[in-house]
């Protein structure tokens, strides 16, 4: 029995060692470093809460970056979830060639995180890019997508929304698991497609909506590639999300202590919002066998 226990531990060892060495140790080290002045070249010196005090009292860039990050997350996540659900709903119909469309709509998610797509995005939305060519063709004025601070964040948001495939696949699987007899019964009772969607589909999808909400929110808070490649955080820091600020502080300004403090503030924000989502889920998420009426 003991040898079997060790065998099990042996199988788990790669994961446990990886977790300890590459996640837990850096996680705790960054917590320690956030209370220090550390420039990588010399030993860290303990500064207590100085980094955090600076962040919240003196740092105009942090406030700007935090605001931009919150706007980005609160627009991207609902838009992406709504779009993913919409497409999943359509792809749930038995149409000719439906498997092709399901694959096609998932492709952006495979490509989405890549640098190549971010570069492509830069060309599509450039002054003489595809989007402006289309707008001009339709008789509209071309839009300054990247040069105008209000539009730049929107283009980054669109890139993330375009990568709706993973959320869509989960929605699609959930839609297919809904018992068809519920819709038949509702139809006999005179329910329209819309009322069926609102009163049957949505409530039965709430566990999946909740799951997607948490996953997408965490991912959105960690967005880096898009703004780094497309706008480099500009113009006027309008796309300067917190992960970019962390990167710049750590690897361009060599202030690893300060970067760690920002990372921990970001971590706490994600944790608090996740806890709020979990707390609120009791009121709007319905699981199978739920006795609530």
């Amino acid at each position: 029995m003991t040898s079997r226990r060790f065998l099990g531990l042996g199988y788990l060892a790669p994961y446990i060692i990886g977790l300890l060495v590459f996640t837990l140790v850096p996680f705790l080290a960054s917590l320690y470093l956030s209370f220090t002045d550390y420039n990588l070249m010399s030993a860290p010196t303990w500064t207590g809460l100085e980094n955090y005090i600076d962040l919240f009292t003196n740092d105009r860039t942090f406030r700007r970056s935090l605001t931009v990050t919150l706007i980005y997350v609160f627009t991207t996540v609902p838009l992406k979830l709504a779009f993913a659900l919409f497409i999943a709903y359509i792809l749930n119909y038995r149409l000719r060639g439906i498997n092709f469309f399901r694959t096609a709509f998932y492709v952006p998610s495979i490509l989405g995180g890549s640098i190549a797509i971010a570069v492509l995005w830069r060309y599509i939305f450039a002054t003489n890019g595809l989007v402006n060519m289309g707008l001009v063709g339709l008789g509209f004025e071309p839009v300054n997508w990247f040069g105008d601070p209000t539009n730049a964040l929107f283009t980054i948001t669109l890139l993330r929304c375009w990568q709706f495939g993973s959320a869509m696949v989960i929605f699609l699987a959930a839609l297919q698991s809904i018992d068809k007899s519920l819709y038949e019964a509702a139809s006999i009772d005179g329910a329209t497609k819309f009322t069926s969607f609102v009163f049957i589909t949505i409530p039965l999808l709430t566990p999946v909506i909740f799951f997607n909400l948490i996953m997408q929110m965490v991912q959105a808070f960690q967005e880096f590639n898009g703004p780094y490649i497309i706008t480099q955080g500009g113009p006027l820091k309008s796309t300067y999300l917190l992960p970019l600020y962390i990167y710049d502080e750590a690897f361009k300004r060599f202030d690893m202590g300060y970067a760690s403090a920002i990372a921990w503030v970001l971590f706490v924000i994600i944790m608090v919002l996740t806890l709020i989502a979990f707390w609120s889920s009791k009121k709007w998420v319905f699981y199978a066998g739920d006795k609530r009426s």
């Binding site: 990588l40 706008t231 113009p235 006027l236 820091k237 300004r253």
Partner: protein, 418 residues
């Protein structure tokens, strides 16, 4: 193979050194990678060591080197960008003091000024590879078609910008200036007017007054206003693409820029067939004190302070920079060499592109103050560019921008007070 091993063994006996395993890291493009690997192979064979190459593009190299330096795991031989010197060697002890291997490395091939630029607290941290500077490149074909002579003064430059647009249309701009180039044009104008670098070497504080810098920022604003350069909004709208990747550059619709002399081919290469790019003398104000172009040691080779084989690393370093085999193999992949013997050998053999030689000659003959590496401190540069952007978007005045830049730079400089 047998001959090769015998040669290596003989060389080993001749030098009296042990065969050591070394590592060398650098950044660059494909041609530099190929040339450096070939040079390492030749020098390794000659001195009986083995050198493992570690190379990447420029992006990410600083982050990689920083992480390695923090952990003491950097390669024995490292290529370092000159502005990074104060970051890695704050007290002068970040790299091996090459004076300790002066019997192996022929330091006489560098001038005292060149060695001074890489010396901190009396410790020689590396060997400069080339002196690089920003020069004015103009598309001579575009200028000729519009009947414009190469401008030598800023007044001629303003007039040329207007002529170009009136002859060829509003899609044409005389010059390029975005991000770092915009910052360096502001710097150029202030240096020309004052003769002072951003940093006063005596006090280690900003040498310019708010008024002097504000005038430089307004100079940039004027260039945008008369459409001699594109605004930051327009350039951002185009997707922040590198100048040499822009179709407008290839077609000659942007007729010039202020770029590193060693990058001549990077900018000349993409031009449409028949278009000629040429480095020209710096454009000056009528009352300019100096030419004021931005010139500095571009990069240097250093030996790690943690190297277990500094003597072997010194042998390879000397081979790469002063011995015929290494010089020929490296060629001009890091610009016109700072090493006198290398520069003479490559120039004589015609191995260096004459356009690069011409551009470098302009840099070397230009007058101006010695540039402080703090000009390129990430925080100084970041504050300068970000604040200039705020000015360009009309959020702050030139005076406010100048005050923010000077205050930010002085904060950084103050942290280096001993």
């Amino acid at each position: 193979m047998k001959t090769l091993m015998t040669t290596a063994a003989l060389a080993l006996c001749a030098s009296g050194a042990m065969a050591e395993d070394l590592r060398m890291s650098w950044w660059g493009g494909d041609s530099r990678h190929a040339a450096t690997q070939a040079a390492l192979e030749i020098c390794s064979e000659k001195h009986g060591h083995t050198v493992s190459p570690e190379f990447t593009g420029f992006d990410g190299y600083l982050e990689k080197l920083t992480t390695q330096m923090a952990g003491g795991t950097e390669a024995d031989l490292v290529q370092v960008n000159w502005p990074w010197l104060p970051l890695f060697s704050r007290n002068g002890d970040g790299f091996l003091d090459l004076n300790t291997v002066a019997d192996t490395v022929d330091l006489s091939q560098w001038t005292p000024e060149q060695l001074a630029a890489v010396t901190l607290n009396g410790q020689l941290n590396g060997l400069p590879l080339s002196t690089s500077g920003r020069v004015f490149f103009f598309n001579m074909t575009t200028l000729a078609e519009a009947g414009i002579d190469v401008p030598t003064t800023w007044d001629e430059f303003y007039a040329a910008a207007e002529t170009l647009r009136s002859v060829n249309g509003d899609d044409y701009t005389l010059f390029n200036a975005v991000k770092e180039t915009a910052q360096l044009l502001v710097t150029l104008s202030v240096v020309q007017k004052t003769g002072k670098d951003l940093v006063d070497p005596e006090t280690n504080r900003v040498a310019w007054t708010v008024e002097e810098l504000a005038e430089g920022i307004e100079f940039y604003g004027h260039l945008v206003e008369i459409k001699a350069i594109r605004s930051m909004q327009e350039d951002a709208a185009a997707g922040n693409v590198n100048l040499f990747e822009k179709p407008e550059w290839a077609q000659g619709m942007i007729a010039g820029s202020y770029e590193w002399d060693s990058t001549y081919n990077k900018y000349a290469g993409p031009l449409n067939e028949g278009q000629v790019l040429q480095a020209v003398n710096p454009v000056r104000f009528d009352d300019a004190v100096v030419d004021g172009i931005y010139a500095k040691p571009s990069m240097f080779f250093a030996i790690s302070a943690n190297s277990e084989h500094p003597q072997a690393a010194a042998e390879i370093l000397n081979c790469l920079l002063t011995e015929a085999e290494g010089i020929d193999a490296l060629g001009d992949t890091r610009g016109l060499p700072a090493s006198a013997v290398a520069a003479a050998r490559l120039t004589e053999s015609g191995a260096i592109d004459p356009n690069v030689v011409a551009a470098n000659a302009i840099v070397m003959s230009a007058t101006g103050p010695t540039i402080s590496p703090f000009n390129e401190h990430p925080e100084v540069r970041g504050t300068f560019i970000d604040t200039l952007e705020e000015y360009a978007y009309g959020l702050i005045s030139a005076e406010d921008a100048a005050e923010i830049i000077i205050e930010g730079a002085n904060d950084v400089l103050g942290a280096f007070d001993s």
